[in-house]
Amino acid sequence: MMGARAHHHSPSPTSLSSLSPGLVPGSPALAFLQWFGRSNVLFLILGSIPELRAHWAVAPLFVAWAAADVARYAWYAAALARPSSPPPAWLTWLRYSAFIPLYPAGIFAGEMPLIAAGLPLIEARGLHSLALPNRLNWGFSYAAFCRLGLYVLLPTAFIVLYRYLLSQRVKRLGCGGRRGGSGRREA
């Protein structure tokens, strides 16, 4: 659930999950939320509902996550490997352009269909939920949480982060994203 990673404070493609290294400045809470977004789909939904693992949305999900992160980590590795010079322009372009198709693909063809398909099973099996009455006198419906994520959190996060990513792209690549990158390091 939730898209776009942030690394050195800029969210990157697919999945609001994870601020990356740098021993970097940023919000730990946001970093955790971003990590949790993807992990929710991967571990809590796909991990506990074997039937979903053959759902058609698994393929676009994995392809979008993996392709986006290959571009992202390659850029960071290149930046760290040669601190004195910026990463190659083509890699900078790829890092700040790959999210344009991959982020919506991961969200709308991957995470959302999987959550939607899993909802009836989560509800029927009471997965990850705490039913009342219990000793804590506190109930939790994971199905309701997923419904909230599906209809509110995920679309909202997508709009906010996609706009942010586009603005970062313009900042890094110049107007229209045609320039090969300024080469300025982020951190």
Partner: protein, 99 residues
């Protein structure tokens, strides 16, 4: 932010490991989808639920999921990096204030 050599080497190793893991996962997924990687057959229950395409996607999951899970679990470290980075920045700010 400038980084000391041990920190830079650690981050380089972390990013290189993540890069390798995600590249492996991408290759396995595409391989399973294209039929040029060893496919793990999906269970009959999967096929009954999701139809004919399920065999391919089930194979893609079986092929790539271990790498995807490992990379995503490892990505929790990025939260730790941010926590450490925040402390480091605060320390630096305090240091600046004292001088």
């Amino acid at each position: 932010m400038s980084r000391s050599t041990p920190t830079r080497l650690y981050l380089l190793a972390y990013n290189a490991a993540q890069l390798a893991g995600w590249a492996w996962a991408l290759g396995r997924t595409l391989g399973a989808l294209g039929g040029w990687a060893p496919a793990a057959a999906s269970a009959p229950a999967h096929r009954a639920l999701w139809g004919a395409a399920s065999q391919t996607t089930g194979a893609a999951y079986a092929a790539a999921a271990p790498a995807v899970r490992a990379c995503q679990a490892g990505a929790l470290l990025e939260t730790v990096h941010v926590v450490l980075g925040k402390e480091w920045m605060e320390e630096r700010e305090r240091g600046r204030g004292n001088t």
